[in-house]
Amino acid sequence: MSLLLYETENSGGVPFGRLLQAEWRRLWKRRTVRLMALAAPLMALVSAKYLLSQNGMLHPGLPEYATAGSMPVLALAEMLVTAFSGMMLVLAGLTVTEEYRSGQLRMGMLRAASLTRIMSAKWLVCLAFMWIQLAAYFVCSAVVGRIWFPNPDTYPLFYEAGQAAYAEGLLYDLGYYALAALVLAALLAVFFWIAAIGRSSTVTLGLGIGFLLLSYLLPTVLTYFRPLFETQEYVRLYFLSLLMVEWEGLAAMLANLHGLRLWNLGVIGGYGLLFGAMTMWVWKRRDSFE
């Protein structure tokens, strides 16, 4: 009986690990992806230049004033909503929309049994790529911070979360990057849904940018209605936008401002589950209909 079940599971099915391996290797054969992999040090340098010029206009006692310890966080805040989102959108457009619509996946489908499995593997592989990028960016910005930025005994954290010395600061940075890793996973789920319904990679790119713009515009419009809400209600509505969570919400989570830690976690998880389920539904339907 157990032997039979064992055979059922292995009667020709490709192990999921092999699928991951195949997707991972193919990802690295793309020139775009290889170029993207070089982006971390470049982005760190660009951020450093920007933050140094900002420092010239800021009082050293402010949390926005970049120091060796706060550089990785300050350098990530802007890059998350721009470069990292952009990279994920390109990955989704290339590996999902283009490969599916052009028929390039057909030979894999003959072997891997279902689109649902292929797409799950793709999501994990793209996420792994982005997490490695994130780790590389952490290292690069920490190094650049140490070389070019002042390193005071202590410096203030965001939202009055206290003063930190360099070592504590790095721990704080790690926490920030861990939360960023979660948001990236949720945003990648959103982009994978868009890529599943997009008819071409250009459409996917357009829809993705549209999603990001909307995530920026809606909270911005909300600021005009600020007087209508209690503070708690207001910040919660504001952070329903994944983009705002990326931009300002991570530091707020670490300071647990207005109980946002749990709220924002819920928002991140909500996006991930909702869009993950919608994406799976699209592929399940295509698996059984076409």
Binding site: T8, R25, K29, E99, G103, Q104, M107, L110, R111
Partner: protein
């Protein structure tokens, strides 16, 4: 009652001696009430080359999609090696290699890299060494070893077709399904393809199902022919049966298409 018990029966291993490899019974597929396939029933025996003949839009690709489990027929069954593609797809298509519609590869990768990547998805090629070895073998069979390390985007249509056949051979399947492999080839290319398919049969003992909208391409190599028109099977049988009372295969085909 429980699935394990219900599944026991079809799992009995059919001995190699069983002559019938492919058996389709009353396959029907409808899309928005239009029948793309209607009651298609035929068999293919081991070691045969079976031609699937029909004009453009007849439903050849649709049938091949159903045979490889890419779509599910509304009714009817397809058995390959005794296993139902509809109910136990993975086991049934394990011994099938196919080109469906056209051989589309990842253009930014070399031919060899494309095959290496697909080989990863074969459970019977567990180690890297075995995969590389097998890829070399199939490239040699289709005579693509010289150009294997160039990117696929530089390949001609004929080379892509041959790489497509190489890809289908990766898992050393009993059955090869080739969807219009002669499409877009020049006469020399078509001739080479014909020789390749005959080699697959005679030297490697493969069973081949090959589709075409041109009778010419098929009549020289096929042992058996299935003709479909607008989703309906109008003939299934040996070459000789098809010729029947007509003076030639062509005449028989023309009559089928016009009657």
């Amino acid at each position: 009652m429980n699935t394990a018990e219900r599944d026991t029966n079809p799992r009995i291993v059919i001995p190699q001696a069983e002559p019938v490899l492919v058996e389709t019974g009353n396959v029907t597929k409808k899309v928005r009430r239009r029948a793309l396939l209607q009651n298609v029933s035929f068999t293919v025996e081991r070691g045969e080359i079976c031609g699937l003949l029909g004009p453009n839009g007849a439903g050849k690709t649709t049938l091949i999609r159903a045979m490889t489990g890419l779509i599910r027929p509304d009714s009817g069954d397809i058995r390959i090696g005794g296993r139902s593609v509809v109910r136990e797809r993975e086991a049934a298509v394990l011994h099938v290699g196919a080109i469906v519609e056209s051989p589309i590869f990842f253009p930014y990768m070399t031919g060899r890299d494309n095959l290496d990547n697909l080989a990863l998805l074969h459970p019977n090629l567990p180690t890297r060494k075995e995969r590389e070895q097998r890829v070399r073998e199939v490239l040699e069979i289709v005579r693509m070893d010289k150009r294997a390390d160039e990117r696929v985007k530089t390949y001609s249509l004929g080379m892509k077709q041959r790489l497509g056949i190489a890809q289908a051979l990766l898992g050393d399947p009993e059955l090869l399904i080739l969807d219009e492999p002669a499409n877009g080839l020049d006469p020399m290319g078509i001739r080479e393809l014909r020789e390749l398919i005959l080699r697959l049969k005679h030297e490697l003992g493969k069973t081949v199902l090959v589709s075409s909208h041109l009778l010419d391409e098929l009549q020289k190599i096929c042992d058996r022919i299935v003709v479909i028109r607008e989703g309906e099977q109008v003939f299934a049988g040996s070459r000789e049966e098809m010729i029947g009372r007509h003076s030639s295969l062509e005449e028989a085909f023309v009559e089928m298409m016009t009657s």
